[in-house]
């Protein structure tokens, strides 16, 4: 399921069936038309529905981004002004930093942990394998909204479980939504909780595809478990790892619900916008403020471009790793 497959040449399609003498002319014609045109029919539902409900709104957003657009009033064409304004908008860059910060906090530990857990689960003699796999995956079943409510309570200042636990090691009440680092940590912990198990299983699958004789050969050469992990496992799961990074990137750049609910639904994301993400800023400008819908649309396109750029970077890495 790696994105690398997209750049791989398509597998050869079935050659047309042998023109058996027994077939009548009409049958051949039908067959020919079927082969030539039916694929378009099969992919048509996707493009029809996506075109109407996905593409059209997106193009409309692009159109809006070129205007000074008041949601309940007038609009006028202003060209790329919204985009130039973006470049010098301190709060846009703030949101960008927050998004990347939370992304880093929720991707790096998550991947390390997932690698570690996958490595543990990869032991052949492990008992209760299915139980552990399912237990680790279960957070992915719970909705983001529910996760946000639960974590919101866990991270409460006065009555929260986490502050209560911290009080035992002598740490004073932490005001989790009051500082940049603490709010990032709290939000990242929600993301980590929900996705670590999912990524663990994907990595585990990658690990299981590694031929066992590689390890045996290494063992005979006297390499210990750690050495084997560094020398064999890690290089071999690299494509899977990058696939996981791409998925996390797409999700991380669009992060919205977790920080929003963490901040009691306030779109600013903290008193000083400590955890306002790009998607939240887009929402603030495009939806909350009546008169800056065009600017919000520009933010939306900026997010899209950032995701595409980061995915391209990943494609390059995939290619490199494939060599």
């Amino acid at each position: 399921m790696s994105l690398s497959a997209t750049t791989a040449p398509p597998s050869p399609a079935a050659p047309p069936p042998p023109d058996a003498a027994s077939r009548r002319r009409r049958g051949y014609l039908l067959n020919h038309l079927d082969l030539k045109y039916s694929p378009y029919l099969y992919i048509a539902p996707f493009f029809l529905i996506f075109g109407s409900f996905g593409l059209y709104p997106m193009l409309r957003t692009a159109w809006m981004s070129l205007h000074d657009w008041d949601m309940i009033g007038d609009h006028s064409f202003i060209g790329i002004d919204n985009y130039t304004r973006l470049l010098s908008d301190e709060y846009f860059w703030n949101a960008l930093v927050n998004t990347f910060g939370i992304f880093a906090l929720s991707t790096i530990p998550q991947l390390l942990l997932a690698l570690f857990l996958a490595n543990l689960l990869n032991r052949t003699l492990l008992r209760a394998k299915t139980f552990f796999r399912m237990a680790i995956f279960i957070p992915n079943v719970v909705s983001v909204a529910a996760v946000a409510i639960v974590f919101g309570m866990l991270f409460q200042r006065e009555f929260g479980l986490i502050n209560w636990l911290l009080s035992f090691v002598g740490i004073d009440q932490v005001d989790w939504d009051g500082q940049r680092w603490s709010s990032w940590t709290a939000i990242a912990s929600m993301v980590n909780w929900r996705w670590t198990g999912y990524n663990t299983l994907i990595l585990l699958a990658g690990m299981q595809a590694i031929p066992k004789d590689l390890y045996e050969a290494a063992a005979i050469d006297g390499a210990g478990p750690w050495r084997q992990f560094w020398r064999i496992t890690l290089p071999m799961v690299r494509p899977t790892l990058i696939f996981v990074v791409i998925l996390s990137t797409i999700g991380g750049m669009q992060l919205f619900t977790e920080p929003l609910l963490f901040g009691n639904g306030r779109i600013l994301g903290g008193n000083q916008r400590e955890f306002q993400t790009l998607a939240m800023y887009m929402y603030e400008m495009g939806i909350e403020n009546l008169n800056s819908a065009g600017y919000g649309a520009a933010v939306a396109w900026a997010i899209f471009v950032i995701i595409v750029l980061m995915s391209l970077l990943n494609f390059v890495l995939v290619r490199r790793s494939a060599k």
Binding site: A14, G27, L35, F116, T124, E216, I250
Partner: protein
């Protein structure tokens, strides 16, 4: 004497400790939901926080059912309808298109596939306002159409099925079908779809979960009169104060169907996810 490979893969108690810890951490917030949902409202702000379930679930859930603002039961039924319809559609359209991309030859195939992958990168909130306007024009505001029709297809679904089909179905199988004079649709229906069943199960379950849990769009387009489950949950705390034990009792009940589905089909989901990755 144990062989090299066995020595390599032996599991120490430390492994189990680490895994049990991870499993506990995974399950804990879920358990916490149950704890709060079964406690009285007064006890949840206690210090230290409560750690075990209480006996107030019945009371809490009665309040959920009595909460006119939320229409919990309607929400539950709507979610079942919407999630089922979307799931069936995504699996069918996904496998049909995936089959075409993987096994049929047609002009523009690669560029169209690339287009599908790019669509996965579009921020979902981006088209909110225009889409909202479209729904109003269609007269779909506050109807289940609005939360169903736009999601009947999924780029991820097409892509996943394409990946699976290209590996799991041999060209010989399809050729054999052709020799028998079957049309491509017959081949899809009789040969491809059955072969795609494991991947279809995974896609179906992931789609079901995602649709069940989606919030932002349903919240924007539906009213408390006719909500989905997640929207209904958000209206439970509609007033200026939040009755957490009520919210959590409802959330636990709302998550329960997914957990049941997951436990029943869990092996297949997990197998499927791993299948997908192995094929990379």
């Amino acid at each position: 004497m144990i062989s090299a490979s066995q020595r390599l893969w032996r599991t120490s108690p430390l492994t189990y400790i680490a895994l049990v810890l991870a499993a506990l951490l995974s399950i804990y917030p879920f358990y916490y939901m149950v704890v709060i949902g079964t406690r009285t409202l007064d006890s949840i702000n206690d210090v230290p926080p409560p750690l075990t379930p209480g006996g107030a679930f019945g009371d809490n859930f009665d309040r959920v059912l009595a909460n006119d603002a939320a229409n919990f039961v309607t929400g539950l039924i709507n979610s079942i309808i919407v999630s089922s319809v979307v799931t069936v559609s995504v699996v069918l359209t996904g496998s049909l298109a995936g089959f075409a991309f993987a096994k049929l030859r047609f002009r523009g195939r690669n560029i169209l596939l690339l287009a599908i992958i790019v669509t996965m990168m579009i921020p979902t909130q981006m088209g909110l306002i225009p889409l909202w306007g479209m729904m109003q024009t269609l007269g779909w505001y506050d109807t289940l159409y609005a939360v169903t029709v736009p999601f009947l297809v999924s780029a991820f679904g097409v892509f996943m099925m394409r990946q699976y089909a290209s590996q799991a179905i041999s060209d010989e199988l399809i050729e054999a079908g052709r020799v028998d004079g079957a049309s491509t649709f017959r081949i899809y229906w009789n040969i491809v779809l059955p072969a795609l069943r494991p991947a279809a199960a995974v896609l179906g379950l992931l789609t079901f979960m995602e649709t069940w849990n989606s919030f932002l769009w349903p919240y924007a387009i539906l009213t408390p009169e006719n909500p989905t489950l997640q929207v209904s949950l958000s209206f439970l705390s509609y007033a200026y104060y939040t009755d957490y034990s009520q919210v959590f009792a409802a959330t636990a009940v709302g998550t329960l169907p997914l957990v049941v589905v997951f436990i029943l089909f869990g092996r297949q989901i997990i197998g499927g996810i791993m299948e997908g990755a192995v094929k990379s």
